[in-house]
Amino acid sequence: MQGEMPKGGRLRYLPRLLLIIPLVAILWVPSYNALQPELAGIPFFYWYQLAWILIGAGLVVIVYLIEIGIARSAE
């Protein structure tokens, strides 16, 4: 079906667990409420969160590719 991942066993959705990683990392505020270490003059608090935007996007890409791969091999 267009647009919906094939509902084979639930295990197909396992890759999505990867997406919990950015959630936990970013909600754990005390872990990044600091000024050091700096990157290019930018305090940790700021560049760390910006980095997580990119890491999070990367994880979505990975999950997407895995799921597309699973869908293709199921055809």
Partner: protein, 506 residues
């Protein structure tokens, strides 16, 4: 009046006006059908969806308000970034599923989905009304963004003459939205994004260079503002406030009618999934935009005599315009301001279309004229979209800016109450509309109450639980209550229903 900036500004504005009208012929179809006018015919592939959702998500208000918060309050204003980190996994997992159901059943709005899934007109009505009411202040706030840059161009902002630019801008917006529907903002979003990217890249390269590098910029910011104040005593303080602001905002964003519209107009679920990977580009830009607040501090715009009037009138919202005026050549100021103003037009257009979709399908067609033809449906939607925009303009012109901001705060608390019906509708077999109604009502009341206790100046409520104070986003707390009620009352109502249908002693 800043002549070079104004000329560039007006030229770009004219460009998008033309595009707005021409858009009616893009992927040409009968714009008298609601799904063509209101959803672009559901033919927007990955890239167009990217521009459209980006147009939804990154608005003039974002460009002005996020840096303003950082400028005024420091680290806590950066919550827009963790919010963005949380957003995309949610988008990836939940919304293609909603898309699939909506596509299969011909739903245009969230209320359509709820109506069918829970077989309840009342619940659908609640969803529709919540959506419309929560969006209207948001539209009004886009105008605030536009007003600030028009004022920064040097136009007087008092009296009818002062309001004229805004009124003209809105008439233009109203006209091409009426004509072209969703295609207009989708196409204009391309121009908007190019302008915003250009402006932001210029800002994050040119301005730090002028100010002596990022290290120097951060050095200008008082240290206590630079990170969150560590909590003291029995409170989780800024930590829980920050995390809940991020989480609550992420959960709420896609519940807004205009986000729904953006999602449901995609051509397939994979377009949405791909966007979950591509849209973060916008969020990264948003992170850089947030840092403009600190750049404004470092550039000393608050001490600059030329900006005193602007800050007096617009408060911290003047930080970004002031920064651009100080740092850029006049002609580029025109480009930058145009990107903000166009960044107001696109979401305002999409939001008004989304409200119109909701009103037409779930209020007008449902309760007033069920037998209306498709052409009548589209006509009503076009008119409603117009009325909504007029209402927003009147609101902004007649009321103090602070009211719009407060209403927007409440809007966020209200819109998040739509989460349980969507989640339960997609992931459970619950059929209990009464349970969801009770949850919805309780969430609305609690969230509004929490904001009221803060005098509507803040949506962070100090929740006291087991001896610990957890200052947190009222929207999140209230939706948790909503969800808990819905989940726990569902079996109760199901039991009552089965008792009623199959009387005891059978």
């Amino acid at each position: 009046m800043n002549a070079p900036a104004t000329i560039v500004f007006v030229a770009l504005f004219l460009l998008v006006t033309v595009i707005g009208f021409v858009a009616a012929h893009w992927r040409e179809a009968d714009l008298n059908l609601l799904h063509e006018w209101g959803l672009g015919g559901r033919r927007f592939g990955t890239m167009v969806t990217w521009f459209l959702l980006g147009g939804d998500l990154y608005t003039a208000y974002t460009f002005i308000a996020v840096p303003a918060l950082v400028y005024g309050k420091g680290a806590i204003g950066f919550f827009a970034i963790p919010y963005a980190v949380l957003l995309y996994p949610i988008l990836y997992v939940v919304f293609p599923r909603l898309w699939a159901v909506a596509h299969a059943r011909g739903h245009i709005t969230a209320a359509d989905f709820v109506r069918e899934r829970f077989d309840s007109r009342i619940l659908a009505l609640a969803v529709a009304v919540t959506g419309v009411v929560a969006t209207m202040p948001y539209i009004a706030l886009q105008l605030v963004g536009m007003e600030v840059v028009i004022g920064a161009l040097g136009f007087p902002t008092e009296g009818l003459i002062g309001h004229l630019p805004l009124i003209i801008a809105f008439l233009v917006l109203a006209a091409f939205t009426y004509k072209s529907g969703l295609r207009a903002p989708a196409l204009i979003a391309v121009v908007k994004d190019v302008l915003i990217f250009v402006t932001v890249i210029a800002a994050v390269v040119v301005i730090p260079a002028k100010l002596g590098g990022y290290g120097a910029i951060f050095a200008h910011v008082p240290p206590e503002k630079l990170i969150l104040a560590p909590p003291s005593g029995d409170s989780l303080g800024a930590y829980s406030a920050y995390a809940t602001l991020a989480l609550g905002s992420a959960l709420a964003l896609f519940l807004y009618p205009h986000s729904m519209t953006g999602i449901l107009s995609a051509s397939d679920g994979n377009a949405i999934r791909r966007n979950a990977a591509l849209l973060p580009a916008y969020s990264f830009i948003l992170g850089l935009i947030a840092l403009l607040g600190y750049m404004a501090i470092a550039a000393g715009v608050g001490e600059d005599a030329t900006h005193v009037a602007g800050f007096a009138r617009y408060g911290s919202n003047y930080a970004v315009p002031a920064l651009f005026l100080t740092s850029f050549q006049p002609w580029f100021v025109g480009v930058a301001f145009a990107s903000i103003a166009i960044g107001a037009l696109v979401p305002a257009a999409i939001m008004s279309i989304a409200c119109a979709n909701l009103f037409t399908r779930n209020l007008y067609k449902e309760f007033v004229r069920p037998d209306c033809t498709e052409a009548q449906e589209a006509k009503v939607a076009k008119i409603v979209s117009l009325v909504v925009k007029i209402g927003a303009v009147v609101f902004i012109l007649a009321l103090p800016q602070a009211y719009a901001i407060q209403l927007q705060l409440l809007g966020g608390i209200w819109i998040i109450q739509l989460l349980p019906p969507i989640l339960l509708g997609l992931y459970t077999r619950s059929r209990s509309a009464p349970a969801l109604m009770i949850g919805w009502a309780a969430g609305l009341a609690t969230g509004t109450y929490m904001a009221a206790t803060q005098g509507f100046a803040s949506s962070v409520y100090p929740l006291a639980l087991f001896g610990v104070t957890l200052p947190g986003y009222a929207a999140l707390y209230s939706v948790v209550l909503n969800l808990l009620l819905a989940l726990s009352l569902t079996p109760v109502f199901n039991l009552l229903r089965s008792r009623r249908l199959a009387p005891a002693g059978r």
